[in-house]
Every structure is written in structure tokens, then in C-alpha cells.
Symmetry: C2
Subunit: 236 residues, 2 copies
DNA sequence: GCCACTATTGACAATCCTGTACGTAGCTGG
DNA sequence: CCAGCTACGTACAGGATTGTCAATAGTGGC
């Protein structure tokens, strides 16, 4: 029982850096989240272990618990933070006119964004429910991203239609287009290389680029032709 | 000390089924794999715990170790078995003429197959590397499935082209088409409902069906038009 | 310069899971 | 009917991880 009474005096061996660093709560939370995200990107949700993160940062794991209550709390905070980072990145990729505004250029940027820093993986894990184990079934992105995109597509379809004198295609046309592209991008980011290989393509960044270009062209053509064909199947 | 010497005599309460069931090694492996797959589909790779699986089957967890060496061994066996089951299911879905052979019908069946019993999830986990932790990076599907599909598409494109007198589109056209659809199906199986919701669609099975039909129509039209437009962009 | 506040920490507790050791009990061939 | 093989079970060891607690040490305000 007298174990806990030891007043640490025995530690006479480290006079070099005896000072412990003290961050503000916000700083600490930020650093911890960053370290956690790094581990997440590499090894998945299971790789997020308090002791490991603590070691990465040179702190002790109870400090993490102090700032996030529990591992669960850390995971939720991480989910929110990573998801909003993804949103911001995607938004930037879409609206950034830096490298062109053609469908191909935009697709390229979004693809890149999804691939880097484990964004696609985060989405996948979130969808798989590996995040937020019980309660919150997956970290729901507040993404109006898709909404915005669908609006843009709808507008463009309307423009094309008006230009050719056809009637405006139904809103669903735009929604489905966005859904297809979004799903395809996620899927491709996850298993694109495997798909490419098993489908017989040589695979590699060059193929990936050509694939994107091909998809962009497909969408582009679709934009122009849908105005003539959309009424074919109609509502059913 | 004398603990291990207890010869079970104390169990006087269960004369009904005191006999332990003895399976063949193959039976046992099969049952264990099935139980593991059930858990996998529900809770992911982390939910595969030897003790839980054992409890599900009414056996003891060392029995599992007896049949699979280690948890790692179980995971690998599970990966192989589940992946080959997926292959078989997909193959069946594609070639089964039961409910029509139109692109829409085929797509529908494949979509269904991917969705049920966690096939899509398995693929995702495999891609995410949650399977086969270190060594085997992901359970590589021996799927010639995609190969077969791409061949079929290529043939069809050739037929269409010949019928209209156009020149045969490059093989890449078929490969990319398959890649797009495969990636989209996986992505949609994973996050389709979320996408649908955040894109403003009401979501639900009806929407999902319409989406598939829409995609099938898109492919169908593409098949017909690609013969006129494929030479536009050419090689790059 | 002193003091309250809190970020930080080492030690410890509690739990959980995989894997081992060894004995038991069904099946099958002789 | 006996003996061997092996599927199966109980008990336990070992390790890893989250979480608690009381003590310690920067920091900012007075």
C-alpha cells in the first residue's frame, strides 16, 4: 500500500532536460490529432494506440486521455477533424482555378486529393464503421460538396440544353452523374491499382492519368448528348 | 497445483449432452470460417476474436487455434475463402441468364451480389490492408472476372463498330469501361447511401434501382456512340 | 515573489486476447 | 475389444492496451 507515497525523489539521473514542455490545451490537442492522423493513414484505425501516439510525440499516454477523455473521444475528434480537412481539400481542389477548369483538370485534382494523406481510406473506414465503433455509425461528412457539385452539373446541363434548344434534363441526371463519379473515384482510389492489374492493364501512374482523362471525356460527351437522349427512358 | 487434476467429475448437472461433438477437421474448419465470416460482415476484422467465434459455435477457442495455427492463419484462410466465394458469386451473377442478360439486369445482379454478405466490405478491407496485417499486402483476388468482362465488352464494342462500319475502338476503351464500373460499384456499395443523402436524393432502394438503371443506360448508349467518337481524342 | 490552475507524468489497476500445456474423449483400424 | 490418433476442453501464462490516481512542475495573475 505504501507504494503510491513515493515522492519521485529517487530520480537523480536526469538533470539534462528535466523541464517538461507545457503546451496550451489547444496546441496539445492539435499535435495529438496530427500524430493520430499520421498513424491512421499508415496503419488504419487499429494502429491508433495511445501509447504509440504518445511515444511519437514524446509525451506520456495519460496526457492524451487528459485532453480527449478516452480513446473513443480521440477517435471521434479525429473523425471530425479529418473529415472537415477532407472537405476543405476537396473544395479547394474543385474551385482552385490554378491548373485549369476543364472537367479533366478538376477531376485530376480531386483524384489526387482523394489519394493523398489517406483521404480515401478515411472515407472507407468511416463507411465501414471502423470509426466510432458503436454509437455514431460512421462519421457523416457535412459535405455539401456533393450538393454543390450536383448543382453545378445541373446548371451546365441546363445551359447545354438551352443552347441546343432541347428541354432541360431532370435534376436526377445531375445527381446520378455526381454519384457515379464520386463512387468511382472512391473505389478507384481504394482498389484502382488492383483493378488495373487484374483487368490486364499494365498499371502505373500513366495509365491512371489516361483513365482520368478518359473519364473526363466521357462526362464531357455525356453532357452534350444527354440533352437529346434524356427523354428516352424518361421517368419509366 | 492440484487444479489441473480435476477430472471433470464435478460436472454432475448435465447428463443430457455430456458428450462432446467431434467433427472432421474439414467440417470444423468450415464451420469456424463461416462463423468468422459472419462476424467479419458485421463488425469488421477487429470483431474477429477467437473467443467470440468459439462462443458462437459452442466450442473452445483453443480448438480454433488447433485448426488454424494462429489467428493470423485464420485470417488468411478467411481471406482466401471469402475471396473465392466472392469470385464465384460474381461469376454466377454475370453469367446467370435467369433474370435476363441485358446490361441492366446483369448490373443489377452484380450490384446485389456486391452488397450482400459483406462482399464489398471484404474487398474494401482487403484493399485497406486490414487483412493480412504485414506480409501479404491485401488478399489479391485471382479474379479473371474483370478480364472476362473486359473481353466481353471489347467484343461487343467490336460488333457495334462493325455493324456501323466504324473502326474497332482500342482495347483500352473496354478496359477503362470495366474499371469505371467496377470502381463505381465498389464505391457505391460502400458509401452509396451516404452519397445519395448528401447529394440531396431521398435515398432508398428505389433510388438505388433507378441509379443502376441509369448507369446501365449510360453504358448502353456509350456502347453505341463510342464507335463514332473514340477516334476523337485518340491516343492522348 | 507567491499562489492558484492545470498540463503532465510515473505507477498501478483492470481487462482483454492470443497462445501454450496437458489431459480427456470420440472415432477407427487391427 | 484394444490401441492409437486426433479433435476438443480446462487452466493458465504472457503481453498488450486503456484507464485511474496522486504527485509534480510550468505559467499566468495578483
Amino acid at each position: 500500500m505504501a507504494t503510491a507515497k513515493n515522492p519521485r525523489k529517487a530520480k537523480a539521473g536526469k538533470p539534462a532536460t528535466p523541464t517538461r514542455r507545457r503546451r496550451t490545451a489547444e496546441e496539445a490537442r492539435h499535435e495529438i490529432l496530427a500524430a493520430a492522423q499520421r498513424r491512421l493513414a499508415e496503419g488504419g484505425p487499429e494502429a491508433i494506440r495511445l501509447q504509440d501516439i504518445a511515444r511519437d510525440l514524446g509525451i506520456s499516454h495519460p496526457t492524451i486521455l487528459h485532453h480527449f477523455e478516452s480513446r473513443e473521444g480521440l477517435m471521434q475528434a479525429l473523425g471530425r477533424s479529418a473529415m472537415s480537412a477532407l472537405n476543405a481539400d476537396i473544395m479547394r481542389a474543385i474551385s482552385d482555378p490554378g491548373r485549369g477548369t476543364s472537367p479533366e483538370a478538376v477531376l485530376d485534382r480531386v483524384f489526387e486529393t482523394l489519394g493523398e494523406s489517406g483521404h480515401a481510406r478515411l472515407l472507407a473506414w468511416s463507411a465501414l464503421g471502423d470509426f466510432a465503433p458503436q454509437r455514431t455509425r460512421g462519421v457523416v461528412p457535412q459535405e455539401q460538396v456533393l450538393r454543390v457539385l450536383a448543382d453545378a452539373v445541373h446548371r451546365r446541363l441546363g445551359d447545354e440544353a438551352r443552347a441546343t434548344g432541347a428541354r432541360t434534363p431532370p435534376r436526377e441526371e445531375a445527381d446520378f452523374t455526381v454519384r457515379l463519379v464520386a463512387a468511382a473515384m472512391l473505389g478507384d482510389a481504394l482498389v484502382g491499382d488492383v483493378l488495373s492489374r487484374t483487368a490486364g492493364l499494365p498499371d502505373g501512374p500513366a495509365v491512371q492519368r489516361r483513365f482520368r482523362a478518359w473519364l473526363a471525356r466521357l462526362l464531357d460527351e455525356r453532357f452534350r448528348q444527354v440533352t437529346c437522349t434524356t427523354r428516352r427512358g424518361g421517368r419509366d
